[in-house]
Symmetry: C2
DNA sequence: GTCTATAAAATGATAGAC
DNA sequence: GTCTATCATTTTATAGAC
């Protein structure tokens, strides 16, 4: 048949793997199932990837990129003013996405634990570093839009937010109770917002002294 | 050889499965690996369980029982007085256990997602029902020890607590940052404690009226 | 009842024709 | 470069000797 650019084949296999893992779970993501989903012969698989683990690692990288992109968009949508409102809006936006893509979120957890067991793609650590970065973007933006400063390092708050999002996700995946999830989002936003102080009255002993006067 | 009571064999296989899953992950928990761990011939496996999935379901049930037992003990340890302190002490107790049994907590997540994919043991729902019950015990006890009442149904608060514990766990499993986890425990305890009011002054229609005047 | 031996199917990876 | 055919393992599950 026609020659296909290696980069394209690689992309198609990754997308096929994402589809299979989201639909049937990582256990069902065999080389045959993935190649079949990509409408490629099995032989083409090892022409692009040396091993199955190498593909799984590529899938994690791909999904982390998407996650970051998704987190960064839609944050600046006008409306909310206070830090709590911005955070809650961000979490509710995540819930909207979660309820429409539950299988993909399930897949992300499966991939994280797979990485933890096999050491693939730097273990869970690499994946959560990406989550922390995505959360840091929201945390930082919330302070800017709310016109306040954080009392704690953004990195630490980003880790807290990641934990809150994870808990929100696992419980919703288990019981699919969206109303409860939104209530938890409210609790989570308020909890983080306690770590803030007005930008006009900077505190004394705080680690961060600078100020972001946005607009 | 000697005849062994079926109930004992069953128990030994379940314990062996827990060991294997915690050590090597659920993917590595093959019938051979489990039987070998239990020092039984492979043939004995299907003498007790019809299939591998049936064993996994039994493992989930077993671990949920342990989880409930663990949650209920150690709560009444004297010391903390306020609701926040009781909750934080409970969460820190969990962190102590988590840091000593990280592989088992990893296994619990793997089992939950496995159940979600296969429908084994009632899916994730059954497992999280057990978590909710365990969390409800801590939530209820915190109010009693703190001499307060909750503004929201205990079931809802128990779900919140489960989400907080889940997020605490996943992030710690990813970065093993115990100091950060304890800080998150403090945040989580304070967040839940906002849903309380003094038992001596029951409020009327209010969702939450007073708040914490952060010094 | 117990356990060895084996069946039947699935999987990751490769060889080799074109 | 492409893809069919196949290897070598590993898996769940069972048959059948004792």
């Amino acid at each position: 048949m026609r020659r296909i650019a290696p980069a394209l084949r690689r992309e198609e296999l990754i997308n096929a793997a994402v589809t299979v893992i989201a639909r049937d779970g990582i256990v069902a993501a065999t080389t045959r199932a993935i190649a079949s989903e990509a409408k490629m012969p099995l032989g083409a698989f090892h022409y692009v990837f040396d091993s199955r683990d190498e593909l799984i690692a590529a899938v994690i990288d791909e999904l982390m990129g998407r996650e970051l992109g998704r987190a960064l968009e839609g944050i600046t949508l006008g409306g909310p003013r206070t830090v709590t409102q911005v955070l809650e809006a961000g979490l509710n936006g995540f819930i909207d996405w979660l309820t429409e893509n539950p299988d993909l979120e399930l897949a992300l957890f499966e991939l994280a634990f797979f990485a933890a067991r096999t050491g693939t793609s730097g273990g869970m650590g690499a994946q959560y570093s990406a989550y922390y970065r995505a959360s840091a973007a929201l945390v930082a933006q919330a302070a800017v839009l709310g016109g306040v400063q954080w009392n704690e390092p953004v990195d630490r708050l980003a880790r807290h937010l990641t934990a809150l999002v994870d808990g929100l996700t696992t419980t919703w995946l288990a019981d699919r109770d969206t109303a409860a999830a939104r209530e938890f989002a409210s609790l989570a936003a308020s909890a983080l917002a306690t770590k803030v102080h007005p930008i006009s009255h900077p505190q004394t002993t705080v680690t961060q002294e600078y100020s972001h006067h946005a607009h």
